[in-house]
Subunit: 250 residues, 2 copies
C-alpha cells in the first residue's frame, strides 16, 4: 500500500508488478488522469480520496492493517530516499566523467525525499556543492523550515499546477537530512513553471510535468545566481495530461 | 547558403553563428513555424520558396553565385554525412558499453544523409547489423530504389505530416553508400506516425517531430520483426509546432 500524488504511485505499482505482488495506491481524486491511468496500467488498485477533506495516511494505514500489507511511504522511508538518491549518484558520476565540479544542484521537493537522497549522494562526492530546494510559490514549506531550523507547514490554502509538490510540510526523516545538507529554498509561480515546461519542450525536447520543472523555473526567473557556475537542475517527472501540456507549451 | 526543410537549416545557422559567419537558408514556405523561428534565432537570413512550384536548389545556387557563398547541401555532402554519422558512432559506443550487439538499426531518410552516416559507423563496428531505412507512406523512394538497385523517385504527389522527409528521391552520393549498406525500407502512415509521436510523449517523455518518429512508427505498427532482437531506433528531430504536437498527443 502506498499514498502518492502519482509518481511514487507508479514506482510502487511497477515494482509490485515486477515482483508479482499486489499493490494498492491511495491517490487524490484530482490527480492528473495520466498518473492514475499509468498506475492502473501496472495492475495496481487505485483508491481515490479528497485532498481537502480526507487524510491519505489514515486511509492507507487502514488498508494496510486490514489486508496485512506493507505501507511504502513516498518520502519518509530510508529505502525510498536511497532509491531517489541514485539520481544524485548519477549526477556525481556524470560530472566526474566530464571533469566538472557542480557548484549548485537544484531539485524539487514535496515531502523532501528526492532532494534528501540527491543531497546525500552529491555532498558525499562534492562537499562544497550548494544544494537548493525548489518549491511552488505558496508551497515553500522547505524554504520556511530551513530558515527557522525546524519543520514548518506552508501557510497557503492556494492551488498550484505542480500537483506533485503539494505536501503540507517537510517529512520528519527527510528534514533531519535536509536541514543539515541544504543551503536554502527557491520558489516559482505557476506562470514561471509554465514557461519552464515550454522551455523544456522547445529547447530540450523533453516532456517535464509542472512539479518537475520548478527548479528550472526558478533558474529562468533569475532566482539562482548561475553566472560562471556549474549548475545542475533535476527535472523529475513527465506525467502531465495532454490538454494541460498543450496549454503550457502554446 | 543552405536549402533545408528546417533541421539542416538550424544546424547550418548555428554553425555559422559559432564561426561568426553569415548564413542564408532557403526553406519551404510551409515549413513549421518553429523551424523558421529557430533558424532565424541563430541570426540566419531565411528565404522562403514554394515547395510545389519552385526549385530550391536553383534558388540556393543563385544566391551562392551572386554572393560568393558556399552551398552546404543537406545530404549529398561527405562532411555532412560524416557529421550525421556521429549518431551511428554513439550507437556503436553505447551498445559496446552495454555489452550488446545491435541486430537491427532503423533511421529515417529524406535525402538519405543521416542513415548513410549511421550505417557507415554502425557497420564498421557491427558488420552483421541489419540497417533499415524508415520513410513516410507515399515517400518511400529509398525502399523503392533499394528494390530496383538504382535511384528512383517516389510516385506520390501526396502530403505527409513528416515535413522533414519529403525529398523526391535518394541523393546520389548517399545512395552510393546506402545501396551497399541498407537491407530494406519500411514506411508508416500519418496515423501511425501520430501514434508514435504520442508514444514518445507518453512513455519516453521525449518531444519527437513526425519525421523523427517514423522508424518508431514502423516498429509499433509491427513492420519490423523485433522479437528477441536488439533493435536501435534513431529518433531525429524535435521541432514540431505546439498546435500540431497538441493534436498528435491528444
Amino acid at each position: 500500500v502506498a499514498f502518492s500524488s502519482g509518481n511514487h504511485a507508479q514506482g510502487v505499482a511497477a515494482a509490485a508488478k515486477i515482483l508479482n505482488m499486489q499493490a494498492t495506491i491511495v491517490m487524490p481524486a484530482d490527480a492528473p488522469l495520466s498518473k492514475r491511468d499509468r498506475t492502473k496500467s501496472y495492475g495496481a488498485e487505485v483508491v481515490l480520496y479528497d485532498r481537502d477533506k480526507e487524510d491519505r495516511e489514515a486511509i492507507a494505514n487502514g488498508i494496510a492493517s486490514k489486508r496485512g500489507a506493507t505501507l511504502v511511504r513516498p518520502y519518509d522511508d530510508p529505502f525510498v530516499i536511497a532509491g531517489q538518491g541514485t539520481a544524485g549518484r548519477e549526477i556525481a558520476e556524470d560530472m566526474t566523467a566530464r571533469g566538472l565540479i557542480p557548484d549548485i544542484v537544484v531539485a524539487p521537493a514535496s515531502g523532501g525525499g528526492l532532494i534528501a537522497g540527491v543531497a546525500t549522494a552529491v555532498k558525499s562526492r562534492f562537499p562544497n556543492a550548494e544544494l537548493i530546494v525548489a518549491e511552488p510559490k505558496g508551497y515553500d514549506d522547505h524554504a520556511l523550515s530551513l530558515k527557522v531550523g525546524h519543520r514548518e507547514p506552508h501557510p497557503a490554502a492556494a492551488r498550484t499546477i505542480c500537483d506533485a509538490l503539494m505536501a503540507a510540510m517537510p517529512g520528519e526523516l527527510t528534514f533531519s537530512i535536509n536541514s543539515k545538507l541544504l543551503a536554502r529554498g527557491v520558489s516559482a509561480s505557476d506562470e514561471e513553471v509554465a514557461a519552464a515546461v515550454a522551455f523544456a519542450y522547445r529547447e530540450l525536447k523533453l516532456v517535464v510535468e509542472p512539479g518537475g520543472a520548478v527548479g528550472l523555473a526558478a533558474l529562468l526567473a533569475g532566482r539562482i545566481d548561475a553566472k560562471g557556475k556549474n549548475v545542475v537542475i533535476v527535472l523529475s517527472g513527465g506525467n502531465v495530461d495532454a490538454d494541460l501540456f498543450a496549454k503550457l507549451v502554446a
